[in-house]
């Protein structure tokens, strides 16, 4: 009974909150919303990532190849100079090196304005980890969902390394409960650029994702001691590396 009352109350609160924010957000001269394209390149240090055949070396000197590299980006948010932000609703994307089309996507229906910052989550927010059956990027058919300890795998990197104990690399980064939470929100610098969202424009942000940054940065990952990671403490160490600069903005196209 309390539960029902509570949910009723919170629903009405939410409703009021929605009303309030939609008033707040109103531009002095309301215009049509616009879009923002996100385009991503995958690099390993200076080299482009090539699945299976490319061979690479970590800053610590471990050699490796990559057969799978995919990760979730979600909860995109744009910020203005005055500190206000706009969270793009339902922004969940699965970026997959094996699917070139997944490395470019569009954020729709963004209120027109001049935005000076961009932030997003590497991973999936904790709510969606426990919200039941999902579709689209979050569909478990994408093989980015753990069933035995349910929740999303935010980043999957698989490959080989002569330094790994059995020659294989399996890095499945996920987890949303302390102390093994690997959800990371990042705001890569736009390097002084402004994203102008207008109904008649198609601006684009070019991102670069550097695979080496999974294994270096805050924590040095050596494949001799960590080559089979599925959540847990090592996943947290890698997530901290990801947060420290795996994704950078190469440039912003005003278009």
């Amino acid at each position: 009974m309390y539960f029902r009352l509570f949910s009723l109350l919170s629903t009405s609160l939410l409703f009021v909150a929605t009303l309030l924010t939609s008033c707040d957000d109103k531009d002095p001269a309301p215009t049509q919303p616009g879009t923002l394209d996100i385009e991503i390149d995958h690099l390993v240090g200076e080299q482009p990532l090539v699945l299976n055949t490319g061979s690479y070396t970590t800053p610590a000197g471990d050699q490796f190849t990559v057969s799978t590299f995919r990760y979730y980006l979600s909860n995109f948010s744009l910020g203005k100079a005055d500190g206000s932000t706009y969270l793009v609703p339902e922004s969940y994307f699965l970026v997959d090196e094996a699917k070139p089309a997944s490395k470019a996507f569009t954020l729709d229906s963004i209120p027109a304005g001049d935005y000076t910052s961009l932030s997003f989550v590497i991973g999936v927010d904790s709510t969606r980890n426990v919200s039941g059956a999902q579709t689209g990027a979050l569909d478990p058919i994408n093989n980015m969902f753990w069933t035995w300890n349910s929740g999303y795998i935010y980043t999957k990197l698989e490959g080989t390394s002569p330094q790994a104990s059995n020659g294989g690399l399996i890095f499945h980064i996920g987890g949303f409960k302390t102390p093994n939470n690997t959800i990371r929100t990042v705001s890569p610098s736009l390097k002084g650029a402004t994203i102008l969202i207008r109904p008649n424009r198609t601006p684009a942000v070019h991102l670069q994702t550097d695979v080496l940054k999974l294994f270096s940065g805050v924590n040095t990952i050596r494949f001799a001691t960590a080559s089979d990671v599925m959540g847990g403490a090592n996943a947290v160490r890698i997530a901290d590396n990801q947060a420290a600069g795996m994704i950078t903005v190469d440039h912003v196209h005003a278009n």
Binding site: M1, Y2, F3, R4, S7, N129, V130, S131, G132, A133, Q134, T135, D139, P140, I141, F145, T147, W148, N149, S150, G151, K177, N180, G232, A233
Partner: protein, 348 residues
């Protein structure tokens, strides 16, 4: 009680207007009224509004071996209605090609009230939980992709899914939500004990059963709490043999303090769900009571409630108390649930 029921009904009304899938009259989908002696469910009807067609589809899927790689194992193979949807007489689960699992298949009942599922709490939502048995090599050994391919190749399933969800092709969300329409309906709340607890006709307990109830309240209800008979916590109840084979909750949390802890199971229908414990080690309830009385074994994570002031372990139970407890546990058998024709195996 009337008030709770009325509120429950009122909660349903807006659904009828707002939901695309029209909500069913209560009787048509079993188990959806919140029993007066239960708390509010975790998985509310609003999350996946029950409809007769959705429930019927979930029921067919639950009993369809098509969902397994070999076409021989259905959810119902390991979850049998007469055993409150546990696997009768099987210590460990039996999957495709007779592959043995590592745990005992628990009863499926009152799942809407569960925050976490499985013996270690690893599954966190009723809708996504079937992904575990579907893809487990020792259970149904199938891929989600292939299950959907099979369903989409089947004209009858195409029609049934389209009738419920109004869009094609059949996707994983439709499959999982349809299965959850069935699993969420498995409500057991009509045992003789329930009638007693709600002061309903037929709710009389014998003197021995009443004594058993009071022993249970005194000695067991700190863990097997409320009328759901579980507090939903993870505890080590002193099973001997160590936890090398199965670390329980620690498998999920990777915390040493969780080694050997398992979900406190409900005691509903317990007289029909043998064998007992996460590994099915006890064949009878008498053996379970003997364990609590003199079998509880030392380990670092043993629940403090099973340590006594004098340094002894376990819960002392006289022969009379054990007999009374057994009598009481029998009153938790819900024949209506075990024989509800709406929940029984159904071919398409």
């Amino acid at each position: 009680m009337m008030c709770r029921l009325a509120l429950g009904l009122a909660g349903w009304l807006p659904l009828a207007c707002s939901s695309a899938e029209e909500a069913a009259p209560l009787e048509e989908v079993p188990g959806m009224v919140v029993p007066a002696n239960f708390p509010a469910p975790v998985y509310s009807a609003e999350e996946n509004p029950p409809t007769p067609a959705g429930f019927a589809l979930g029921r067919v899927l639950f009993y369809d071996p098509l969902l397994s790689r070999s076409g021989e194992v259905s959810c119902g193979s390991c979850h049998q209605q007469f055993a409150a949807f546990a696997h009768a007489d099987h210590r460990l689960s039996h999957g495709v090609d007779n592959r043995l699992g590592t745990r005992n298949a628990p009863a499926l009942q009152n799942l809407r009230w569960r925050r976490e599922l499985l013996w270690d709490g690893g599954a966190k939502h009723l809708e996504t939980m079937p992904l575990a048995p579907l893809t487990n090599p020792v259970e149904m050994d199938e891929t989600l992709e292939n299950v959907l391919r099979k369903l989409n190749a089947d004209a009858d399933y195409q029609r049934r899914f389209a009738e419920v969800y109004g869009r094609k092709p059949i996707d994983s969300q439709q499959l999982l939500r349809a299965l959850a329409q069935f699993t969420a309906s498995l409500t057991s709340a009509n045992s003789r004990y329930d009638q007693y607890a709600r002061g309903e006709a037929g709710g009389t307990l014998t003197p021995a059963e009443l004594r058993g109830l009071s022993v249970l309240r005194q000695k067991c209800a700190s863990c097997h709490a409320t009328d759901l008979f579980t507090d939903e916590s993870y505890r080590n109840n002193g099973l001997p043999g160590g936890f090398a084979a199965d670390s329980g909750r620690a498998h999920i949390t990777q915390q040493r303090a969780d080694r050997g802890r398992f979900k406190v199971p409900s005691l509903r229908n317990v007289a029909r769900t043998a064998p007992y414990m996460h590994d099915g080690r006890f064949a009878t309830l008498a053996q379970v009571l003997a364990h609590y009385d003199h079998g509880v074994t030392e380990s670092p994570t043993l629940d403090p409630q099973l340590r006594r002031a004098d340094g002894q372990l376990g819960i002392p139970l006289t022969a009379g108390e054990q007999a009374d407890l057994l009598a009481f546990l029998g009153t938790l058998t819900d024949e209506r649930f075990l024989h509800d024709a709406r929940l029984s195996e159904k071919d398409r």
